[in-house]
């Protein structure tokens, strides 16, 4: 599965399992919040990735 900030590119090439990342410059981060909060953001995205991997739907 792919986590990307450029979702249209992933869709165009036919990626089946995708999650929208949090910006090109930090796909799995957020420079605007505290490091603790940022790790929560990251964890949520990875958890979304895990659900995508368990799903058979696009």
């Amino acid at each position: 599965m792919q986590i990307t900030a450029a979702l249209p590119v992933a869709k165009m090439i036919g990626a089946n399992r995708t999650v929208l990342g949090n910006g090109i410059v930090h796909v799995l981060g957020d420079a605007k919040v505290s490091p603790e909060k940022e790790k929560e953001v990251r964890r949520r995205l990875v958890e979304q990735a895990l659900s995508a991997l368990q799903s058979d739907e696009k």
Binding site: Q2, I3, T4, V9, L28, L45, L50
Partner: protein, 346 residues
């Protein structure tokens, strides 16, 4: 005209799938489709050598097969190299493409092959070669050989080659200057008017087509699954040991995260010229989420994380290149028994 022709074990009359392991052999004169090719080319055209190889052997031993074949083609003093037609046979197409590409760059003689648009060899080599569109049906052998012979003749006498549609070869993705009667504006208006009237028209912009990728089965049990992290955001250890280019990268690397719970900016650098890398430099977990994966591993949510992450730089890269790297990465993951991959892309 001295021709060397490459065919697989099936068209060479050795046998079917049970003979796919047959090593490369050279026979004097034309064999199978080569006989018709010789006739169609006419004149002094003569298949001096036919190279025959089993499909499995060719793909599994590609480097040595290529070296061996090149030696035989050199010895035959060929003016033209022909491979196939391969139709839908994937391994055959890949071997034919690799051979044509190698012969072209090594001996600078015309080369030609034929396969279907969906053959994996077409994707890999269409940029570099004239690949006649054979379709998938081997019953079209004669028709395909006629097209190959016509194109080969043109290549031999170095006359300009027309468009893929006119000559019957697969689009190569090349852009060529051409004089036309009407300006772009006029052509555009013509197209719009045709569209409004529901008349046929042909766009001049052909978007790159991507074959649908079959969806791999889902992960049944995360707690037993072995994970791998891959990124195309260019994260590499300080010093960029594999010298991965920051644009049109031809290489990828595999870097240890064994015993590491959190990626530190001071240990890494970014080889990617396409985004502002300062945030990932501060904390590489923003690109390769190792800290969270370790958490999930410790909590038993996921089985285990493979001890290395793979990385390359995904920027301004020809598809032939990225497809090759993707295949190589997939082969590594498969060999390691990885169940799930999280690929992070900027």
């Amino acid at each position: 005209m001295r021709i060397v022709h490459y065919i697989n074990q099936f068209f060479g009359g050795i046998g079917g799938e049970e003979q796919a392991g047959a090593p490369l052999e050279a026979r004097d004169g034309a064999v199978g489709p080569g006989k018709l090719l010789e006739q169609l080319l006419g004149g002094d055209a003569k298949v001096v050598t036919t190279l025959i190889c089993g499909d499995n052997y060719a793909v599994e031993n590609q480097d040595s097969m290529l070296a061996d074949a090149l030696e035989k083609i050199r010895a035959a003093n060929a003016d033209l190299f022909v491979a196939g037609p391969c139709f839908q046979a994937g391994r055959y197409g890949m071997a034919a493409g690799a051979l044509c590409s190698a012969v072209q760059s090594k001996f600078s003689i015309p080369v030609i092959t034929a396969m279907s648009d969906e053959n994996p060899g077409a994707d890999l080599y269409r940029e570099f070669l004239y690949i006649v569109d054979s379709g998938t049906n081997a019953a079209r052998m004669r028709e395909v050989l006629v097209t190959m012979a016509n194109l080969a003749r043109k290549l031999m006498i170095k006359t300009p080659i027309d468009s893929p549609k006119d000559e019957g070869y697969l689009t190569r993705g090349l852009i060529r200057d051409q004089f036309v009667e009407k300006t772009a504006g006029e052509r555009l208006v013509d197209m719009v008017l045709a569209k409004v009237k529901a008349e046929p028209f042909e766009s001049e912009m052909v978007p790159t087509a991507f074959a649908p990728v079959p969806m791999p089965p889902s992960v049944k049990d995360l707690t037993k699954a072995k994970f791998m992290l891959i990124t195309d955001g260019g994260l590499v250890p300080k010093g960029n040991p594999d010298k991965i280019q920051n644009l049109a990268a031809t290489r990828w690397g595999s870097y240890s995260i064994d015993g590491c719970d959190d990626l530190k900016g001071e240990d890494y650098e970014i080889s990617h010229g396409g985004y502002d890398a300062q945030f990932v430099k501060q904390d590489p977990d923003r690109l390769v989420p190792l800290d969270v994966m370790r958490q999930l591993e410790k909590e038993g949510v996921i089985g285990e994380l493979y001890e290395e992450f793979l990385s390359t730089s995904g920027l301004a890269n020809p598809l032939s290149n990225t497809r090759r790297m993707g295949r190589e990465m997939a082969a590594k993951a498969k060999q390691l028994g990885i169940d799930a991959i999280i690929l992070t892309s900027t």
